[in-house]
């Protein structure tokens, strides 16, 4: 793990314009799917992206892989600005940044054999010319599949196996960064763990950096170094895993963590005090003014409606503390809740 910044995302924006009918009029509106987010990923590091449905996780992934073009902000990869590169200029980037998709069923072309699926990236990038088949078999082995299955169709595999094929495809071009958009959400409970293990193994062996999108907080906790919590197209809290999970400062993060049911209840551990949020996530078409979470926040006050809280360290005055802890922890709330006992835990 070097300290080299691999990916730097600054103020990234993706607004989808569309037309909507309101009463008798047609109005133009925009879905602010991603609305100014910044983060960095260093080589070999894993960033987790969590948040509820529709908060912009997938959009972010698609922007970073440049499957979609941002409407604002910038993406730097390996020091190069790739924000608005054209498709043909992206070729190199396509080798370095790969994606693993959520749905192992729809992410593999049902009409192609595993061999064809895996050799496509090799062919496109002219890798291992003449020895594609060997490389494909190698890849299959790498993800724990039988190399003899090269001529089978995806439908002949189970969900977990298919997800492995998807992973192998991403690995084929030997990327530096993999964006995994909910790679295990669609898998059965008993298979999830297999795939998680595979990803962890590959990360360690190949020194890959990951952006790992999930809504299962447990999985993220298991897999990531840093976590960004998103709400309605914004990052509301961002920091090292330990801090986010153990000392969440933003009310939304707290609510999210408390809402996740805990199996340990069965073992006699008292259930967490559950923060009950009222209502649903507002629409990204017309997000609330000021702090976007305020409509569901129990702490909301007048200022929340007027001023949009920036993503800051809750304890700027104690920046030394953040430094001492050797980690980042930013949040965007006017009234963050700083857990002081954690400070005590940190060795001086």
């Amino acid at each position: 793990m070097s300290d080299q910044t691999l990916l730097k995302v600054t103020d990234l924006q993706r607004h989808f314009p569309f037309r909507e009918v309101q009463g008798l009029r047609m109005v133009r509106a925009t879905v602010k799917a991603v609305d100014g987010i910044s983060f960095t990923v260093k080589e070999g590091q894993t960033l987790g992206l969590v948040g509820e449905s529709g908060c912009g996780k997938s959009t972010t992934s698609r922007l970073v892989t440049r499957l979609d073009e941002p409407t604002g902000g910038s993406i730097e990869f390996g020091g190069r600005d790739i924000t608005h590169l054209k498709e043909h200029e992206l070729r190199d980037i396509r080798r370095d940044v790969q994606m693993i998709f959520q749905d192992p069923y729809s992410s593999l072309n049902p009409r192609q054999t595993v061999g064809a699926i895996l050799s496509t990236p090799l062919r496109v990038h002219g890798l291992h010319q003449g020895k594609e088949k060997a490389r494909v078999q190698e890849l299959l082995e790498l993800v724990g599949l039988n190399p003899e299955h090269i001529n089978r169709y995806p439908s002949e595999f189970s969900g977990g196996q298919r997800q492995r094929i998807g992973i192998a495809r991403a690995l084929a071009v030997e990327p530096k960064l993999i964006i995994a958009d909910e790679p295990v959400s669609a898998l059965d409970v008993s298979i999830q763990a297999q795939v998680m293990n595979l990803l962890a193994k590959l990360r360690n062996e190949l020194g890959l950096a990951f952006i790992f999108v999930a809504h299962d907080l447990g999985v993220v906790r298991h897999f990531c170094d840093q976590v960004a919590v998103m709400y309605l197209g914004k990052i509301v809290e961002y920091g090292d895993k330990k801090k986010i999970y153990e000392a969440p400062e933003h009310p939304y993060t707290q609510a999210l963590l408390s809402a996740a049911p805990d199996i340990n209840v069965a073992r006699g551990i008292a259930p967490k005090e559950r923060i009950r949020l009222i209502g649903d996530v507002p629409s990204p078409i017309d997000p609330p003014s000021g702090c976007r979470f305020r409509t569901r926040c129990w702490k909301a006050q007048d200022i929340c409606a007027q001023v949009e809280p920036p993503l800051l360290s809750a304890t700027t005055e104690e920046s030394t503390r953040a430094f001492r802890e050797g980690g980042v922890h930013l949040q965007a709330c006017h009234f963050p809740e700083v857990k002081t006992d954690l400070v005590a835990e940190v060795p001086a």
Binding site: E20, V21, G23, M26
Partner: protein, 328 residues
């Protein structure tokens, strides 16, 4: 909604305009020479041909002809005829080359017959097709299902004009069980009775495809989760089938229906021809034979307008049928 309709109307208008332009280019700028067709065979000479060409207005430059036609459609136009100006109000489709009568008169007086025929046929195919389709869907896989679907297939495979001719000859003319077509001038009763035979055969043959549409749509609907929900409420099966299943199954059929009626309105040609129904299809066919360009143009235009309007109606109706569809 209003903007939507306006936008759709604009689109519809653009389609009609395109039809207009292409039909005009096709016919007027086409290689056929209607003046030649008008010119009495053995006595046709150059002067006579020129006179006819002039009288039909075919001597003017094409752009002028088109502009005149176009203007006629929207603001009406004046024709010089027998030294007189004859006004033809908008939408003016011109004057028939052959009968020298206004195409509007020629077509709009006949259009009602086509409409009546199409609507009567629609009643037949909707009731017959939908009923049988539902039966087939509910009895899915049974002998009744197979029989109905098979019979509809067979019916759909026999050349329509042969069927129609047999119906026109046997029950109508020879056995005298169904009355022959007579114009509305002969009385409303005989008129509708006379429409019965053509409407029945047209409707029955068309119903063949409705049996299948309905069946498939119904089967698909019955496999939806909300049907399961309806059942789980403990309401009786008939309510499930009709209030829940049929209601949802009908909306795609309603779309097809709208378009089919439009198609019928422009395509009852064979039926009209065989049963002698005096509709625009038959008129159009006659016009084709005599190169009567304004009448052909008029028929094509009316056809396009009908289809476009039906499309629009279907779209708008659909949004009322299915609350999920927002007009956007």
């Amino acid at each position: 909604m209003l903007t939507y309709i306006l936008r759709r109307l604009a689109l519809a208008l653009s389609v009609i305009l395109a039809t207009l332009v292409s039909a005009f280019l096709l016919f007027f700028a086409g290689p056929s020479d209607p003046a030649q067709a008008m010119c009495p065979e053995t006595r046709c000479n150059a002067t006579r041909l020129a006179a006819i060409t002039k009288s039909l207005g075919l001597d003017k430059p094409l752009t002028v002809q088109f502009f005149d036609y176009f203007r006629g459609l929207f603001v009406g136009r004046d024709f010089l005829y027998a030294g007189d100006t004859v006004h033809c109000g908008a939408p003016c489709l011109g004057f028939s080359f052959v009968t020298r009568r206004s195409v509007n008169d020629e077509l709009f007086t006949r259009f009602p017959n086509t409409v009546v025929l199409a609507l009567m046929a629609a009643v037949v195919f909707v009731t017959v097709g939908v009923t049988l389709g539902i039966i087939a869907a509910v009895r899915r896989g049974s002998a009744a299902d197979r029989g109905l679907v098979g019979a509809s297939q067979v019916l759909g495979s026999i050349p329509y004009y042969v069927l129609a001719l047999l119906v026109a000859l046997y029950p109508v003319i020879l056995w005298n069980v169904l009355p022959q077509y007579s114009a509305i001038s002969a009385g409303v009763g005989p008129y509708f009775m006379g429409m019965l035979a053509p409407a029945l055969i047209l409707g029955l043959v068309t119903s063949a495809s409705y049996v299948r549409y309905t069946r498939n749509s119904m089967i698909e609907t019955l496999s939806m989760d909300y049907i399961r929900t309806a059942r789980s409420k403990g309401i009786n099966e008939r309510t499930v089938l009709f209030k829940h299943g049929f209601r949802a199954a009908m909306s795609p059929i309603a779309t097809i229906l709208g378009l089919d009626i439009a198609a019928l309105l422009t395509g009852t040609l064979i039926t009209e021809q065989i049963f002698g129904v005096d509709g625009i299809g038959r008129r159009g066919l006659a016009a084709l034979k005599s190169f009567d360009l304004p009448v052909i143009m008029g028929t094509v235009l009316i056809g396009a307008v009908v289809v476009v309007i039906m499309n629009l109606v279907v779209d708008i109706a659909y949004s009322f049928i299915d609350p999920r569809v927002r007009l956007s």
